[in-house]
């Protein structure tokens, strides 16, 4: 074990980034034209980085597995993006955004990174507006804000329930502008299958063309991984079907440390699982918690009646409802952070109060919001003594304008009308705070390889606040990497193009071909999904919302068995040298089967609870997560040692200069 140096610059927290920027090396414009950069992934982090670097003059090669860069899964983010603009005059500041993010992450993130994120947040909004991102506006023509979980101010900018889509299309348009100019070469339907390291530096990748199956070599002076999170290790998650850990995992195997892999975010407001054929889970934006009230029945017999379909939500009278978040957390109520809300739902359902057939759902009710808005509308329209029905109708219009698309989506999927009956929701895997370890410059433990966005571990600690993922992706891509990468590339102005006919590329390509051959040659009887589902079940049961020592040890054993079984019995039909979706999946699941074990190992070693990582052995008398700061105030970064389960841990101690470590409270 060694101690990792995050290379945090000196100086007071609020000056670090400015001072650091002044001292970073630069690459002059003529030399930038001689430098090639590979960017893997075209989500918010990847697209914004690729566009910005190309604008500066670097030659960029951009890769995505989808058929177009515009489809990366950032597009599915609904709620919004935080920025410390303080437009609503409610007391927001860089400090407060920093404080909320660090506290929300349960004091397990790097102070300097979190501050920088808050600091550049305001620039992001300026940039996006200049690009033509149509944010929600007020009647005066200025930008509108709303509140989000874990915060007491309104700092979230949004574009109806499609903020991720609008921000991504903004970054995509900037990217396409550079494609049009020839400064970015776009490789869609390509998947990175290995990282090439030459003399200790990242110098290229091996990619598979997903249309032809051809294996390609690409050289560059630096490689940026912006490949997203690994939530799909759970099989059921809110990730896209193709979201995967493969690029990050291959880099891990080439020497990049994996940090805090057990930190997983389970989002509280998702549509519950309906059956065994379910392929993914759908998120309902957290913004719904601004107006929706979460409850279960107070009496077990009511819960039973709901589970058996003898009663509906509205049959339960007000006095028999338990608004458990409002009861337990009076100051934040329904707006507690995601990890807290998810655990509280699980606690009620485990106690038998679940409200659907499976007993794994709670109500999210808009009845009081509809009434409240209805009365306000009646006032606005000078309707005196409006009837109950009229209030309802007026209120429904307001709720529909705010959340209409989400309500429609819910009805489409469940076949249930959420204006009539309260919605049913349950937590689902959504985001991974863990990821490849990076220093202050976003560089991994492999020089020349940078990691941006969800793929890195840096800013959210053990729990991410709502509307902060979009903020981080764009901060990394637009405003951090353009500065920090030059410091590294300044050494490369005389290197010339990176040749791909070297032994290192030969070895990496051989390795990739070997792995594909191995997959094709198992010739078993079971489809890839079979193993993925099995793995997901083990991860959810043993390394999900609550974890304990015995369960994690059992989980590790089970994962090993599934992995063995996979390599004996998987069937990949078709050929390797053609469009073959099963082969794509097989490669990804093979990597998940190795990552899953590391997640359990990490969760096992961290015998404290923090944020999304809840160890049953470590809780307060009231059932809240109990941190052990003396033992665990560090980042656990794991180094690959040749085979799964053999990773060795290194530590980055977390020093808190400005904020004092304290037990989180939302009461």
């Amino acid at each position: 074990m060694s101690t990792l140096d995050p290379k945090v610059p000196d100086g007071p927290l609020e000056k670090k980034w400015d001072l650091h920027k002044e001292h970073l090396r630069l690459v002059n414009p003529a030399n930038k034209r001689r430098i090639d950069v590979i960017v893997v992934g075209t989500g918010l982090a990847g697209a914004s980085a690729a566009a910005s670097l190309a604008e500066m003059g670097y030659n960029v090669k951009s890769f995505c597995y989808q058929d177009s860069a515009r489809r990366a899964h950032s597009i599915a983010a609904q709620g919004g993006i935080n920025a410390a603009k303080n437009y609503p005059n409610d007391g927001d500041s860089v400090y407060r955004l920093f404080y909320d993010t660090l506290k929300g992450g349960d004091y397990r993130s790097r102070e300097s990174n979190t501050w920088r994120l808050a600091e550049v947040s305001a620039n992001i909004i300026d940039q996006c507006v200049a690009q033509g991102v149509p944010f929600a506006r007020e009647y005066g023509g200025l930008l509108d804000n709303r509140s989000f979980g874990g915060a007491l101010v309104s700092r979230t900018f949004y574009a109806r329930g499609q903020t991720g889509q609008q921000l991504l299309l903004g970054a995509y348009s900037a990217l396409m502008r550079q494609v049009g100019k020839g400064k970015v070469q776009m490789f869609d339907r390509h998947e990175m299958l290995d990282l090439v390291v030459v003399d200790g530096k990242a110098r290229g990748i091996i990619a598979r063309n997903l249309v032809t199956g051809k294996i390609e070599r690409h050289g560059a002076h630096a490689v940026l991984l912006c490949s997203g999170g690994y939530g799909n290790v759970f099989f059921l998650s809110t990730n896209a079907m193709g979201s995967n850990v493969t690029a990050a995992w291959k880099a891990h195997k080439r020497g990049a440390f994996m940090a805090n892999p057990c930190y997983t975010q389970i989002h509280p407001t998702c549509i519950p699982v309906s059956g065994t054929h379910q392929s993914k889970l759908t998120l309902m934006s957290e913004s719904l918690r601004n107006d929706g009230r979460i409850w279960v029945p107070k009496k077990l017999e009511d819960a039973k009646a709901l589970q058996e379909g003898r009663k509906k939500g509205r049959d339960i009278p007000e006095e028999d409802r338990d608004y458990y978040l409002e009861r337990r957390y009076p100051s934040f109520g329904n707006l507690v952070p995601r990890d807290v809300a998810s655990r509280a739902a699980k606690e009620r359902c485990d106690a038998g109060f679940g409200v659907n057939r499976t007993g794994e759902a709670v109500f999210l009710d808009f009845a009081s919001a509809i009434e409240r808005y209805g009365k306000m509308e009646a006032n606005v329209h000078h309707i005196h003594n409006p009837g109950k029905e009229q209030v309802r109708e007026l209120g429904m219009k307001v709720v529909s304008a705010k959340y209409g698309n989400l309500f429609d989506m819910y009805e489409n999927i469940t076949g249930d009308n959420p204006y009539e009956h309260p919605m049913m929701i349950y937590p689902a895997v959504h985001y991974t705070m863990g990821g490849l370890w990076v220093d202050y410059n976003l560089m991994s433990t492999i020089p020349g390889m940078y990691v941006l966005g969800e793929a890195n571990f840096s800013d959210h600690g053990a729990n991410r606040l709502g509307a902060s993922a979009l903020m981080q992706g764009l901060a990394d891509g637009y405003f951090i990497i353009p500065y920090t990468i030059a410091d590294h590339l300044a050494h490369d102005i005389r290197t010339g193009p990176i040749p791909t006919n070297t032994p290192e590329f030969d070895e990496a390509e051989k390795h990739v071909r070997g792995r594909i051959e191995q997959l094709m040659n198992v010739k078993g009887t079971l489809p890839v999904d079979h193993f993925h589902r099995e793995l997901g079940r083990v991860m959810w049961n043993h390394c999900g919302m609550a974890r304990n020592e015995a369960g994690l040890k059992e989980g590790i054993e089970k994962i090993r068995k599934i992995r063995e079984d996979f390599w004996k019995n998987v069937r990949v039909p078709g050929k390797a040298e053609e469009f073959n979706q099963e082969l794509e999946k097989a490669g990804r699941v093979a990597d998940f089967l190795e990552l899953g074990e590391l997640m359990c190992v990490d969760a096992l070693h961290r015998s404290e609870s923090c944020g999304g990582h809840f160890r049953e052995e470590s809780q307060t008398a009231e059932g809240e997560a109990l941190r052990k700061d003396d033992e665990f105030a560090y980042v656990a970064a794991w180094e690959w040692k040749g085979e799964p389960g053999k990773d060795v841990m290194h530590k980055e101690p977390l020093a808190f200069e400005v904020l004092k470590l304290s037990q989180r409270s939302y009461k």
Binding site: R71, Q127, G132, E138, Q162, M186
Partner: protein, 259 residues
């Protein structure tokens, strides 16, 4: 539910394709259409056959990757949904369902139900942007107020997911709804106004080069659009285009060429 699927199978771009029958049983009405295809593929793989290739990713109606012509309609029955949001409760037990790929010259088939829609990316690269670089010190986002009505209309146009249903629905395989949505979004915002006209010219030029057909105001694109993109956008594109053509000599059609 028990169903008969008739699915277009085609091994590659130049291979000859055909409709193939697949009976399928045990489908629950809570499944999405793509989950039903997952069940079919699971069976095919276990039987040692090649699974059906189809594009999909987010499965929540926003990435635009899924397609499919189902019973003669892009994204199947129902309005304002993508195929991944189509659920089996919209079909009857015993029904025969026809599943085909998008059909358009500009969207060549890759395999089975998968088509190549990269023409859309090239149209975007020709002008679907505002020429502004990443800047560390831009003007404050609130320095230019945007009337709410304009911002809302721009947003409505911006919700296009680039799935290509408009092209698939159109008898002329026209991409006017897609192009007009992008042109409108930017033309309606003060930030995008400066290059509104050259944008229209450049995007239309690329659209024509890709081999999309012309618009004859049929409106099928709007009916089948999962995001309800309005035909008004096409009128706006025509207006922008015409004005740009007339002013061509004054304003020029220079592409942004700052490197």
């Amino acid at each position: 539910m028990k169903l008969t699927l008739k699915i277009w199978r085609q091994a590659g771009p130049d291979a000859k394709g055909a409709m193939v029958d697949y009976p399928i049983d045990g489908i629950s009405e809570d499944m999405s259409f793509l989950e039903m295809l997952d069940v079919l593929n699971d069976q095919l793989i276990r039987e040692g056959q090649e699974p059906v290739a189809f594009d999909h990713d987010c499965r929540e109606g926003i990435c635009g990757m899924c397609s499919l012509y189902i019973n003669g309609r892009p994204h199947g029955p129902g309005r304002h949904i993508t195929t991944c949001q189509l659920h089996m409760r919209r079909f009857k037990d015993g029904e025969t369902i026809y599943v085909e790929p998008w059909r358009a010259k500009a969207f060549p088939i890759v395999k089975d139900l998968v088509v190549d829609r990269s023409a859309f990316d090239r149209i975007q690269a020709a002008g679907g942007f505002i020429s502004v670089n990443t800047g560390g010190n831009l003007v404050d986002a609130n320095s230019i107020p945007v009337p709410k009505a304009a911002a809302d209309k721009a947003f409505d146009a911006a919700t296009c997911i680039g799935c290509g249903a408009c092209v698939a629905a159109c008898p002329n395989s026209s991409a006017m709804l897609f192009v007009s949505a992008k042109v409108s979004q930017y033309a309606l915002l003060p930030q995008g106004r400066a290059e509104a006209r050259t944008r229209a010219l450049n995007m239309v030029e690329q659209m024509d080069a890709e081999g999309f057909g012309t618009c004859t105001n049929i409106g099928a694109c709007h009916i089948e659009c999962p995001k309800d993109i309005s035909l008004e956008n096409i009128a706006r594109l025509n207006r922008e285009y015409l004005a740009a053509e007339i002013c061509r000599e004054d304003e020029g059609t220079e592409k942004d060429s700052t490197y």
